[in-house]
Point group: C2
Chain length 225, copies 2
């Protein structure tokens, strides 16, 4: 395997980190897999040092578990962690959208409107890949409008634990039409400065994500703790 060092990362450590993280999140390296610094360093044709530093970072994020002098494994999905991640995300998102109802820059409101239009287009063209990104962007714009950049970063960090679980479900089983309507209503609530309504809408919106955790656990028992 070869690392693509052209994409701004520059440092081999970051490159290794990104590739590994991607593979783990996409379940290309399934939970429970044993890794070793040497193995990865050979695979990528780099020394152990940058690999080791990537391992440390991934372990800190909860995607790897390092057992000194014994080995390193891709961590199993921890349902408790998934549930709590969802809990945290919900409350932070609700807090932020309530803020947005108090004051929200006109430019960000326009961005939301544009985003919604793109979503509508995406649904018609059944471009589910870009729908994922637009969904992400929609929420990001709200955080930006509230000057809550760091909070967004924390939410992203927290979401790491959700992602593998979400990946197990088929990408296509989202009811995009429903999602679009929820986004639209949130937009309207922000525009109308209706904090109570936005809070309720976001609550419902978040509930969608965490539905069939138990089902997944039964279907992929070896992936879960």
């Amino acid at each position: 395997m070869d690392l693509n060092l052209t994409t701004q990362s520059v440092s081999t450590r970051d490159a290794v980190y990104r590739v590994l993280k991607n593979q783990i999140l996409l379940l290309e390296i399934p939970p429970g897999t044993s890794l070793s610094e040497k193995e990865i360093s050979l695979k990528f044709n780099v020394s152990r040092t940058p690999v080791r530093e990537s391992f440390a970072r991934l372990a800190h994020e909860g995607l790897l578990e390092i057992y000194p002098q014994r080995g390193t494994v891709v961590s199993l999905i921890d349902s408790e962690l998934v549930e709590e991640a969802q809990f945290m995300r919900e409350h932070l998102e609700r807090a932020v959208i309530s803020l947005a109802c108090n004051s929200f820059p006109e430019s960000n409101l326009r961005s939301l409107k544009i985003n919604l239009a793109k979503q509508k287009l995406g649904i018609e063209e059944q471009d589910y890949k870009s729908m994922f990104q637009l969904d992400e962007d929609f929420h990001h714009i709200i955080f930006e409008g509230c000057a809550k950049k760091n909070t967004w970063d924390v939410v992203q960090q927290i979401k790491v634990h959700l992602n593998r679980s979400r990946m197990l479900r088929l990408a296509a089983d989202h009811d995009w039409e429903h999602l679009y309507n929820q986004h639209l209503h949130m937009y309207e609530a922000i525009q109308a400065h209706d904090a109570a309504r936005s809070d309720l809408l976001m609550k419902k919106h978040m509930e969608l994500t965490l539905s069939d955790q138990d089902m997944l656990k039964q279907k992929f028992p070896t992936y879960y703790k």
Copy 2:
């Protein structure tokens, strides 16, 4: 300087990490100070490797800023980050205490009661050092009772950004009597399953922490971004 390797840390990396983090949080190494791997490794009589890995971790937490091939400095306090950290902490704490009002184990309720008694004692004896810990414990017990261990960990992580700012204020300027009463009222709200009241109480409680940020910024301009 010598590292105390006796205290469970075992690995020199963790030891270096803890000592550095402590010194930074206690402002013994003030914001803006330049560090280098070599300098610290000589100071602690260890090789550059564990120092380097500690640097990476501290940088990830936002306490250091690493400029490749140029140097590493202790990050300045970012008021925006402090404000957002407080924002996140408030909403997570409020969400959890509301949960606690719905259902809370009897044993944790007892722990809270015991903690309150110790607080009362601490105030009488003017033992402010243990008051810090009891305050911390009180909130921790609530999270435990709601089975929100991971959320607690995230809050701890977020609080890193608050700590240096809090450190600048005198430790003694807390109105412990007031804090005790707030804790007591929260305890009563949990016991009475009064979520709305607990939410309001926690909101007020959190507001205490973030008061005179601007004053601090004027008083210690070189510490802030």
